[in-house]
């Protein structure tokens, strides 16, 4: 396990170091300096870090428990909406209609009273609590029914798609009270810090890096525990775990809820950095994209999910501005190429190379390897 701990530590350190470096180069160097990081890059990297949290969440359930979720962006978006509600209330009387309580979109559709489910969102701590509780409750309910009735495999994947699609349709409706089609935007500040100030952007990006690092450490602790071993056992031979006396559904439910909360926190940090949340965040394509990030980075490795999310999104940012027409083809091609040629993902490539080098040197015999170090694709933690 030591070698794998190293992968986690390197990833953790890499994320935090990159975030600090970008922050420093942005704030401390003059704009004319060749090393200066332009302002636009800060929230962009912050966005990648949030996506990386979504990818981490997907990997936790797909890589370790074998639950191929095609709807995880639903939890990400829900977390985002909870944060959006707080940011809307923070605007206060500074909105176009200058209503001190009602967000603009409610005044626009002729509401004159704040719906009960918007109560409390003027407090940051309450919003933060809801960011975690609401997606956790939804995931708990969904998972309880799905896992208890032993829905699995492709059927489960399909109902996760249905879940996010249903939420998208619901949030599109104006009378849901979440801004309908347009969602929520025009945010002014967070905790009193103006969102248009550079230091706020840097602060949010660093907070995202911190949250991602914490989520990675948590996910790693879970997967390295006996609980994590049972998850792998369930993934490989669910019936066997039952005949050994385990209840796979409780394990799946537990990891599913934890994963949903990680995704939701990612979504909550995402919204103030991109400045908008609308129902398109629920669109099924987003969830599928997240699965591809994980596949590209290396399923069942945690670090790979983070790597995949950041690298694929870097590529997306570059390609969609350089050759917008090509992006979807490149993305699809990448997925096919990784599935065919790199089943262990990018991380598998590194791990395979290191193992090969050790063997060539003859320093480590096959037997002496730690169990996890030789773990092939899917098990590196």
């Amino acid at each position: 396990m030591i070698a794998l701990g190293r992968v986690t530590i390197v990833t953790l350190g890499g994320v935090v170091a990159a975030a600090l470096l970008l922050a420093g180069l942005n704030l401390l160097t003059p704009a004319a300096n060749a090393l200066h990081v332009p302002d636009f890059a800060i929230p962009l990297f912050g966005k990648y870090l949030c996506y990386a949290m979504l990818a981490l969440a997907v990997d936790l359930v797909w890589g370790y428990a074998g639950i191929l979720t095609l709807g995880h962006a639903a939890f990400f978006a829900l977390g985002g909406y909870m944060m959006g509600m707080y940011l809307m209330r923070e605007i206060g009387a500074r909105g176009v209609y200058a209503n001190p309580v009602l967000p603009d979109f409610m005044v626009f559709i002729g509401w004159n009273k704040l719906p009960w489910y918007w109560y409390g969102f003027d407090h940051f701590w309450f919003a933060l609590l809801m960011v975690m509780l609401v997606p956790a409750a939804l995931a708990g309910l969904f998972g309880w029914f799905a896992f208890r009735s032993r829905v699995s495999g492709v059927y489960l994947s399909i109902i996760t798609q249905a879940l996010t699609y249903a939420l998208m349709l619901a949030f599109f409706r104006n009378d849901m009270g979440f801004g309908g089609n347009n969602g929520m935007t025009d945010f002014k500040d967070i905790l009193g810090f103006a969102l248009n100030r550079e230091t706020t952007a840097v602060g949010l990006m660093l907070a995202s890096a911190g949250a991602l690092a914490a989520a990675l450490a948590l996910a790693r602790a879970i997967t390295a525990s006996r609980f994590g071993k049972v998850l792998l056992a369930v993934r490989e031979a669910e019936a066997r775990t039952r005949f050994l006396g385990y209840r796979p559904e409780s394990y799946k439910l537990a990891v599913w809820v934890v994963s949903a909360v990680i995704a939701a926190i990612g979504g909550a940090l995402y919204v103030p950095q991109v400045g908008i949340i609308n129902p398109s965040e629920f669109s099924p394509g987003n969830s599928i994209e997240a699965v591809i990030w994980v596949a590209v980075g290396g399923r069942g490795t945690l670090a790979g999910a983070i790597l995949g999310a950041i690298i694929v999104n870097l590529g997306k940012t570059w390609l969609t501005s350089a050759l917008p027409a090509v992006w979807l083809f490149a993305f699809g091609g990448l997925f096919i190429a990784v599935t065919l040629c790199l089943p262990g993902g990018l991380i598998g490539l590194f791990a395979g190379r290191r193992r090969g080098a050790e063997k060539a040197r003859g320093t480590v015999s096959e037997r002496q390897h730690g169990p996890a170090e030789r773990a092939p694709r899917g098990v590196v933690g």
Binding site: R226, V230, L232, A237, A239, G245, Y246, H369, P371, A375
Partner: protein, 247 residues
Amino acid sequence: MSAADILRLDRVSVSFDGFKALNELSLALAAGEMRAVIGPNGAGKTTMMDVITGKTKPDAGRVLFAAQVDLTRLDEPAIAGLGIGRKFQRPTVFEPLTVHDNLLLALGGDRSPRFALWARESAAERERIDELLHTTRLVAERGRRAAELSHGQKQWLEIGMLLAQDPKLLLIDEPVAGMSDAETAATADLLGEINRSRSVIVVEHDMAFVRSLGVTVTVLHEGAVLAEGSIEEIQADPRVVEVYLGR
């Protein structure tokens, strides 16, 4: 049928889409007994295992464990918790985990996610795993991933996992399928050893292996018991010969 029966199937019937997999099957196993169950394909051997372990709910009948618990009301983990272990036909072990961890997960103890999250391997667990590695001749393979074991070693690992559960009754489905002669003989020894402290039901096709066990044989046919007795009696029974060779 005495009160000392560890397992008693009482007129158990199961049908799948009109096909009667078990047809009022009744069978009793005394505590400490080893029983071999044979029968042609489709006789209901695997369905019988499924019913006992809770995977399949029967349409009618009862399955009494230790003369008091009706297993048909329980699900798989609950039945496993009572002390009934099951070995699958194909070796089913946790391939990405090491041999050591496979045994660790099988050891008796708390099965809740909360416990598993905080569990640390105790000295007692380590010691028990050492014992099991000896019993199943897998000491040298402790740190290897189960996926790398040979077919026979996987069968033994699975048997080791069942022993780790410390069951009162073991159900073993075709343990020597695909094994070499030496492995088959070693497996017969291993089952004999296991039977010293536990009741065992073995389903097997290999007649030489069944003979080497030297236990009472039950022949299933079309979901019910056709004959029961020593292997010699069974092989002399014209009905059994008819079922196996008649068609």
